[in-house]
């Protein structure tokens, strides 16, 4: 009897542990997103490509060796938006302007949708800063939710809040 119950208990316990681990993993491993920092982070160049994540209560941006952290508690507003960019790169886009028979203009019709994330915060001296990021579609809202969960303030509601209201 004891042997049987142990036999059934072990797989059940393993299954339960696996479920718990899977459920907990999205919170433990911070989601990192490839973004372009258009402007606003101190010490970063404009249009700097890097990795954005929300870790230990900070908005964490890494561009090469340069790292910039903004404490979520200092963030006054987080706003998401949508935009679009050319499917071909900037250089190809400019070169293609010289293509005959309006080939460049034809290429301009193909555009990728992107998300924008605007973060407004005040530093330790009370000075106002604003940072703008562009990122793949659907990722800005997730970053915003993580920031709010870690103490950031916002005046605009998230998409989940909007769904609840409806």
């Amino acid at each position: 009897m004891t042997f049987r119950s142990t036999k059934t208990f072990v797989p059940v316990a393993l299954l339960a542990a696996a479920i718990v681990t899977t459920a907990a993993s999205p919170q433990q491993i911070p989601r990192a997103v490839k973004v372009v920092q258009l402007t606003g982070l101190p010490g970063m160049k404009e249009n700097a490509k890097g990795i954005l994540s929300v870790e230990n209560g900070d908005l964490h941006f890494v561009h090469g060796k340069a790292i910039s952290d903004v404490s979520a508690s200092l963030i006054q507003d987080v706003v998401t938006g949508s935009d679009s960019q050319e499917a071909v790169g900037k250089t190809v886009g400019i070169i293609s302007m010289a293509a005959p028979y309006g080939g460049g203009r034809f290429l301009s019709l193909f555009r990728n949708k992107i998300d924008t994330l605007t973060v407004e915060y005040r530093d330790a001296d009370g000075a106002f800063h604003g940072a703008i990021f562009t990122m793949p579609v659907g990722t800005a809202e997730e970053i915003k939710k993580e920031l709010i969960a870690q103490g950031a303030h916002t005046f605009s509601s998230t998409s989940a809040d909007k769904e609840q209201k409806q």
Binding site: T39, G81, S108, T116, T118, G126, F128
Partner: protein, 171 residues
């Protein structure tokens, strides 16, 4: 050796002429207002709805362009370090009109889809007395994303600051 007096006279005349020109030029230049530092207030857009990224880009570009123009002390909105600065000039900007435009339309048609933003800029002293007021328009007509209009505005607004204020570099 024969031509030495002639060359000397010519040199004297050119010196007198150039110094006279410099003096005349100096008279035409407007007197600049002393500015110990410039503080950029947050962009106001209460009456004209403007997307957050435009509002932030206007503000950040304005600070960068003022620094590029030689203003070594550019303070942000709310910065406590600006409290004790002598001859502090505060720049207040209010969005008057905004036309979003479309980068796609610009690239495809080259005549349509212009993005433009009109901002009323008011430079005041710490007491709030207006020193200079101007309407500045930022536009992007051909190349670049919509946010480039904010860069165009910032360049023009910083140009106005450069023409009218002389930084004294005192903290």
């Amino acid at each position: 050796m024969k031509h030495l007096p002639k060359v000397g006279a010519l040199l004297c005349m050119s010196v007198v002429f150039s110094s006279g020109l410099a003096l005349c030029g100096g008279k035409n230049q407007p007197t600049k207002i002393k500015a110990g530092a410039i503080q950029v207030a947050m962009i106001q857009s209460d009456e004209t709805p403007v997307p957050a990224e435009f509002r932030v880009a206007l503000y950040e570009n304005l600070i960068r362009q003022l620094e590029k123009r030689g203003f070594q002390q550019v303070y942000r909105d709310g910065d406590r370090n600006a409290a004790n600065v002598a001859d502090l000039v505060v720049l207040h900007s209010t969005v008057q009109s905004f036309k979003p435009g479309s980068e796609k339309a610009r690239r495809v048609t080259t005549v349509a889809g212009a993005t433009s933003i009109s901002v009323h800029c008011q430079f005041t002293n710490v007491e709030g007395q207006p020193l200079i007021e101007r309407d500045v328009t930022g536009e992007v007509r051909f190349f670049g994303g919509n946010l480039r209009a904010t860069y165009d505005f910032a360049k023009k607004a910083s140009g106005i600051a450069y023409e009218n204020f002389s930084p004294t570099h005192s903290k």
